[in-house]
Every structure is written in structure tokens, then in C-alpha cells.
Assembly symmetry: C2
């Protein structure tokens, strides 16, 4: 088993939170792969939360919207809470203008706020370089 052909964004594990993202080239096949991988990882990593960063998406069509809604529902069935973060203002405008809905999908302004909602807290000060030596 060598390189499993990285389609899209890898899934990073931060404790019981999985962090991933969507790229522009989401077609039927990669959406299916993404859904499969994410749900499997939720189970294998016992994830309680999922952060999906969409700041790279320049457009959300009805297909992507449906994918996000389905992912949210599936994850919830597996016991994980999904937050979609980083939607561009232009994307939000287009969504409303086209009448596309993201029913049931929880959103956050950016990845930082989503991670905070999922139970991570930024402490006041990051440890400095002196710790590195």
C-alpha cells in the first residue's frame, strides 16, 4: 500500500476533533470519496466534532450544498458535530441569491471560531522560542 492518491484535503486529527476542508474541484467522485473517508475517520478516531474549512471554495452550487448537508446529517448520526467554517462573503451572497439552502448545517466565521465552538481554547500567550532552545 503506497500513496493512496490524495484527493483533496487530508483529515487532521486534533484530539476528538477532525479538521479538514473542501477545495474547488469537488465532483461526484471526489465528494463520494470525501464522504467515505470522513465518516470512516469519525468512527476510527472516535471523533466528537468535525471542522470543515471552506475558505478555498469560490462557489457553492447545489451539489456542494447537498454534500455538506448530507455530511452534517451522517456525522450527527455517528455522534459528531460538524461546523462549516470560512465561507467567503461572495459565496454567502450567491447562495442566498440562488435560493440554495444549507439546512441544518452549522457555520462559523472562520476555522478559529469553529475550533473554539468544538471545545478548543486559545490560551492568552503562545509559548515563545525560548522553549525551543
Amino acid at each position: 500500500m503506497t500513496t493512496p492518491r490524495p484527493q483533496g484535503v487530508p483529515i487532521l486529527r486534533l484530539g476528538d476533533v477532525l479538521v479538514t476542508g473542501l477545495l474547488n474541484e469537488l465532483d461526484d467522485k471526489s465528494a463520494l470519496l470525501f464522504t467515505d473517508e470522513l465518516t470512516e475517520r469519525i468512527v476510527s478516531d472516535s471523533a466528537r466534532g468535525v471542522l470543515i474549512d471552506i475558505s478555498r471554495l469560490e462557489i457553492i452550487d447545489s451539489f456542494v450544498a447537498r454534500t455538506l448537508m448530507e455530511l452534517t446529517t451522517m456525522s450527527r448520526l455517528l455522534g459528531a458535530r460538524v461546523i462549516v467554517a470560512g465561507m467567503r462573503p461572495a459565496v454567502a451572497i450567491t447562495l442566498v441569491e440562488l435560493g440554495i439552502r444549507l439546512t441544518g448545517v452549522e457555520t462559523a466565521l472562520n476555522a478559529e471560531q469553529a475550533l473554539t465552538a468544538l471545545g478548543w481554547q486559545r490560551t492568552l500567550e503562545a509559548p515563545g522560542h525560548d522553549l525551543v532552545g
Copy 2:
């Protein structure tokens, strides 16, 4: 400016910490692109910390090791602390056997511990679904 051809892993911003990763197919060109993008993002996002997840890397040769060392030094010059997280045991063994050094590169067992070192804290309990409604 449309799709900027996503080579490898996107860079996610979590407050003043950038989170990214390396994939297996790191050649000269993509290493250069990665270095460029990361250093630019450190400046534009005023990042204080960088988490590089390498759990997907199945091998680290001297080229990848040098890239990681250079990235660490460059980032430090820009005021950001780099932590490389998630090295596979087999990779660590190979590194030592081949005598490849990661001089100056700070490592962590996994992304979670790296993020903690960079100033994020996991709170006791993730907010449950009842908040979603």
C-alpha cells in the same frame, strides 16, 4: 485570479497558528511552492506558530529533511515557531538508520500535542448537539 492549482495541503489558520501538512509527493517544485506560500502566509496572517503535520509521509529522505529544517529556520526568522507533528515510527527508525538529522526542528507526537504546545487548550468537554438545535 481563479483556482491557484492546489499543490498539496492547504494552510489553515487557527488564530495566530497556521496548520498545514506534507504529502508524499514532495518534489523540488512543490517544496519551493510550499515554502513560498507558508512564509508569505506567516507574514500576511501575523502567525506566531506553525503546525506541520507529517503523518501522511511514509518516508523522509534527506531532501524532505532539509526542506523541514529550512522551513523551521525561515519561520523562526519571521517570528513563528514551527512544530512538526505525527511522524510515523517507521520513519523515525529510517531517519536514524540513515543518519539523517532534523537539526533544530521541534517535533511532537501528534497534531493535538503540537497544537497544545502552540497555545491551544482542549477544554474538558466539547459542547454537545443540544447547542445546534
